[in-house]
Amino acid sequence: MTFLEWFRADRLPHIYCTGCGNGTVINCTLSAVDELGWDPDRCVFISGIGCSSRAPGYIITDSLHTTHGRALAFATGVKMADPTLHVVVFTGDGDLAAIGGNHFIHACRRNIDLTVVCMNNQIYGMTGGQGSPTTPVGGISTTTPYGSAEPAFDLCALAVAAGANYVTRWTTYHVKELTKAVHAGLTHPGLSFIEVFVQCPTNYGRRNRFKQVSDQIEFLKTHSMIRQKAERIRGEGGQVKDGTIEIGEFVKRSRPAMGVVK
């Protein structure tokens, strides 16, 4: 199989806008699943509400498209009832960090054996571009027309603090690294959290001076920095520019996990 065979071909093309990064994230996730040689009949993809959450509908496995923010709670039920299933959760920043924030920290605390892929486009894309908890300070959205004044959530730091076993962040530009990260997350016991910065040309890029899709990819490329490098710079007393996206692995550890088949 190749990852393309994991798609429900009859459902493509999908509903995502031109240049939306979500499709790339699905490619990378399915590539990793495909590399592992998993049986599609034993995988379940679960999501909440939002653009990101339409993803399971395009995948040939059993899939559960649930209510806003609750994907992790549904996934907990699936995984605890049948731990032999491979459960992957697709979610977005609004879904995971706003309405689903509580479920997120508790799933990390339980460290339940799920792989959570968060497509962070820094905005509520599907509902028309409202500001989300990850909209950066100064970011323009329909509800922050003068630039967001609220500090944004660092989802990876949150996952680490809450107890997830594997936490990593990449962008849609880093497709190879992202595929490797999902691969690692799928095989690592406990909750694996993979945050991906994705471009939203329609609702974010357009309002934030990214004229072309490529401009936003260019931004992700030039404004991301491997975490270790950022830490080294800080360690040497240097300054990392504000707004730098720190990418790479945040934690990989072996806290006791739930729902792991012994």
Binding site: R8, R11, P40, D41, R42, V44, I46, R54, P56, G57, I60, T61, D62, S63, L64, H65, T66, T67, R70, A73, F74, A75, T76, G77, V78, K79, M80, A81, D82, T84, L85, N102, H103, H106
Partner: protein, 329 residues
């Protein structure tokens, strides 16, 4: 349950809130397991969105609501029956569900087993709408060695996952068995794929969700009739049934009858016709007349609500007086 379920080979999880609780129940149900959650009052309100999800996705599950005084946090340790309409209409949109109402500890046991069977058969959330009196009461019960345990009908291979036969209920496509089903709360076609802008698909789906329960309301009706020739009839469900039983026990007047509903939704309107000589229906409820209003829809006979809120149960004397006022001297 935390103590007993793991010993019986089940899984118990204390989720972070009621929203997550019902979500996990729905998730677990899709792996083919029987799953339930229990709550009271405000927790029930929190569950409403996902209850709608369970209805739309036709997920079998059981939800126990030990009703307390409301609105809001109200009286956490006092009895009420104020959620009877909420369980029927609380989630948004049109739908139909099944609700049972136990009046004793024995029925709490029996109806829980029945609730699971109904949920599996109809692929719908089934509510066990008890009240604080029944919920906190201890009394003699007999536990049989085994309870009848129906199985979910598995979907036939090759049939679309949400295509229903003449009985309007699709076979169940358990996760992990190769059905590769897509389950969504959006309006979906028979393949399970979202189809949100077609009025026809939406109408067909919602009508089927309603029909599969409502059309069988006489078949699944569960009620007890005492003195069918009576003129004054008490209609009860849950704890007030006990007070009425006491009234009839203390004064065996053939002019007073009792219709005791063990299944409240879908409302068994045929039960009302069990009393051809009825002159008045008296409906004692621990709310301001929620089911009395439903009875009014189905009869031309006078319906008199006997509401009582605050946490106390109607005493047999109160009810005896109420029925006495209706009987011509």
């Amino acid at each position: 349950m935390a103590v007993k379920l793991p010993k019986a080979g089940g899984t118990f999880i204390q989720m972070e809130d009621e929203i997550a609780g019902i979500a996990a129940v729905i998730g677990a149900s899709w792996t083919g397991m029987r799953a339930m959650t229990a709550t009271s009052g405000p927790g029930f309100s929190l569950m409403m969105e996902n209850i709608g999800f369970a209805i739309m996705t036709e997920t079998p599950c059981v939800i126990v609501n030990i009703q307390r005084g409301g609105p809001s946090t109200g009286q956490p340790t006092m009895a009420a029956q104020g959620d009877m309409l909420q369980c029927r209409f609380g989630s948004h949109g049109d739908y139909s569900i099944i609700a049972l109402s136990p009046a004793s500890v024995q029925e709490m046991y029996d109806l829980t087993a029945k609730a699971f069977d109904l949920a599996d058969r109809f692929r719908v959330p089934v509510f066990l709408m008890a009240d604080e009196i029944i919920g906190h009461m201890r009394e003699r019960i007999e536990i049989p060695d085994a309870v009848p345990h129906g199985e979910r009908r598995a979907a036939d291979r090759g049939v679309l996952p949400f295509a229903a036969g003449p009985d309007d209920i699709p076979g169940f496509t358990t996760f992990g068995k190769g059905y590769r089903v897509h389950v969504t709360g959006l309006t979906h076609d028979e393949r399970g794929y979202p189809a949100t802008t077609s009025p026809k698909i939406h109408e067909d789906l919602v009508m089927r969700l309603v029909r599969k329960v409502e059309d069988r309301r006489h078949e699944i009706a569960d009620y007890e009739v005492v003195n069918p020739d009576a003129e004054v009839i008490f209609v009860t469900y849950g704890a007030p049934a006990r007070s009425v039983s006491q009234v009839l026990h203390d004064d065996a007047d053939p002019r007073i009858g009792h219709l005791r509903l063990r299944l409240v939704w879908p409302f068994p309107d045929s039960a009302i016709r069990s009393f051809p000589d009825a002159k008045v229906f008296l409906v004692p409820e621990l709310n301001l007349g929620q089911i009395a209003r439903e009875i009014e829809r189905h009869t031309t006979v006078e319906v008199r609500s006997l509401p009582k809120i605050g946490g106390d149960l109607h005493t047999p004397r109160e009810l005896a007086e109420a029925s006495g006022r209706c009987i011509a001297p």
